[in-house]
Symmetry: C2
Subunit: 359 residues, 2 copies
């Protein structure tokens, strides 16, 4: 088991990473302050892991709520079912909301914990690679709105994150690949040695080798924690984590939530951001080619969806949260392993990238 502390003053918390943690409640029950726990899961994950989770919580007062699986259910309306469950169980201010599932369950459970009685405890048990390396760190919670992704939410930190690599054994290949997109991202923005390591260990990761997965999750969370620790509320440096996300969110929104996995959209969006970086003469063509090849080996898309045209992208990117007072902030690479935030990208270069990727 590896442990990492996310340093956020009085909101610091540990991430426990390893094989078999789910059944080892003795390691993580100490992070549940009260006696009431609501387990929130979805109809894919609950049949696999709910009973084991409840068994690990034996002796506490537990309740659970099972939400439908999918990004399209990440809405205020479905969120309300978590509040219904908390109130049905008559849970008070000292209760804990435990998220058992992927990013959608984590985002909604965390937001519910942030809002229930103006804030109760929150524990994350992420069961996808994406959730383990991304939403484990940063405290971003929330739901989507018909007009935009993650438009409604809160910054809210968990008491602890329990990342059991064994839960990845039931993860479909497509979702493992989507998680790898974010792992690769950490290498690209600030950790070139990690990028080298991923290129070398991709087969072990794809074979779900526990040691390789533990290292990849640890190093990803470490990189993210260093950034978030310096910029919790995303006023500056934290935006580096959005490499590929402005394009990616446009893809997710433009194709309708649930068509593309988040990590898939981020992979394609990252290639677009790298193409734009090349047009700014910061990257060499072979840098872009190297990353395209890695994404392809990982089974990730490297082109934009057919149905979106250049103007669709421009329209969708303007409403993205990263847009401030009308200007588009983009994360680009000065070189591999070194991301920067740019608000001065010439529109004709952006159009050139979009034209190259769109029909």
């Amino acid at each position: 088991m590896q442990t990492l502390t996310v340093e956020l003053a009085d909101r610091s918390y540990p991430i426990l990473i390893g094989a078999g943690l789910l059944d080892q409640g003795e390691y993580w029950r100490r992070y549940i302050p009260g006696r009431q726990v609501l387990v929130v899961s979805n109809d894919t994950i609950a049949p696999l892991y709910l009973q084991r989770t409840l068994a690990a919580l034996d002796g506490l007062q537990t309740a659970h709520v099972i939400l439908p699986d999918g990004e399209q259910y990440k809405t205020l309306e479905v969120l309300n079912r978590i509040f219904d469950a908390l109130l049905d169980a008559r849970f008070d201010r000292g209760c804990t909301v435990l998220a058992l599932g992927g990013g959608v369950i984590g985002d909604m459970s965390g937001f519910a914990a942030a809002c229930y009685q103006r804030g109760v405890h929150f524990l994350q048990v992420p069961t996808t690679l994406l959730a383990q390396v991304d939403s484990s760190v940063g405290g971003k919670t929330g739901v989507n709105h018909a007009a935009g992704k993650n438009m409604i939410g809160a910054f809210y930190q968990p008491r602890a994150v329990i990342a059991d690599t064994d839960t990845l054994n039931t993860l479909p290949d497509r979702e493992l690949a989507a998680g790898l997109a974010e792992v690769i991202k950490y290498g690209l923005i600030r950790d070139l040695p990690f990028l080298d390591w991923i290129e070398e260990n991709l087969p072990a990761l794809q074979a779900r080798d526990p040691a390789a997965l533990t290292h990849a999750i640890y190093r990803s969370c470490l990189n993210k924690a260093e950034i978030v620790g310096r910029d919790e509320r995303e006023s500056g440096e934290r935006a580096l984590l959005n490499l590929g996300h402005t394009f990616g969110h446009a893809i997710e929104t433009g194709t309708g939530y649930g068509q593309w996995l988040h990590g898939e959209a981020v992979a394609a969006g990252t290639v677009m951001a790298l193409d734009l970086s090349r047009r700014r003469n910061w990257l060499e063509p072979q840098d872009v080619e190297r990353v395209v090849k890695l994404f392809q080996r990982a089974g990730l898309p490297v082109t934009a969806p057919r149905e979106l045209a250049t103007d669709d992208f421009l329209r969708l990117m303007a409403i993205d949260k990263k847009a401030k007072d009308g200007r588009i902030n983009l994360v680009l690479l000065k070189e591999l392993g070194h991301a920067v935030i740019c608000d001065d990208t010439p529109t004709e270069l952006l159009r050139a990238t979009l034209d190259a990727f769109c029909c």
Copy 2:
């Protein structure tokens, strides 16, 4: 104009109190950091003050949304209309949500500001006495759930509060009285000289004399700010502000939201809390009588609603946010002007009070 600063470290903000402030944008526009402002109001207040508010914001990019008036509309569903309006206007992270109305508008606007893109700026222009003396200070925002009042929400501070006493000229007498219940509460819990002042100046307050109102608002906010400044998240002392509220929330929930005004329920609930304090031998019968007389002069109820029985109260009070791990915390008075938080009230005394007030 009187100004008071609510001291909360990097979230400190001013309360401006006086006659005619609404039209004097030059005093308060400095508290709007960006250029985008969404004014949230209701269909009672908007016809009276929306155009004047928008005029005071001349030159900024404004939009507005008008919600139905009433506590029964303080729901997640209606909250979503604020998000719709923000997204329709394509407002970004730098925007400000301005609440123009009473407590319901303030609570919902503040919660929307807390959640929109995980937090935007918030400005309050309260137009009821209750909102001016209560929700102006403390940062409590949120919506109701069918199973309980204010069950979903956030602590979120405004950039400033603008309390224009002239807006009270259009306030119905019943709502002015409801606001006076909270004003009287500050005297009861910690400011006996203020209680004396209210008894003397009640006619001036009821005649809406601007100087008397300005003083009452200032002194109420000062008392609340001192408490909140020491206990922002309601872990201890802040609970003193809940004098009458545990009984009061039971009345509001038990009769269905919107039947009793919040201040009316607090007045009746306060008399119940004082009766219980007398049964604990802390107050003399004449202390209770003095307060009953003041509430009656103010036009406030001093008895529980007929439809609630003792057991209804006990059931409703157990789900109240003030209940922790099943124990009921109650705010009682050791003497007039000195409130304490008690978790050791003998159930038979509580029952005796409830029996005395219920059919």
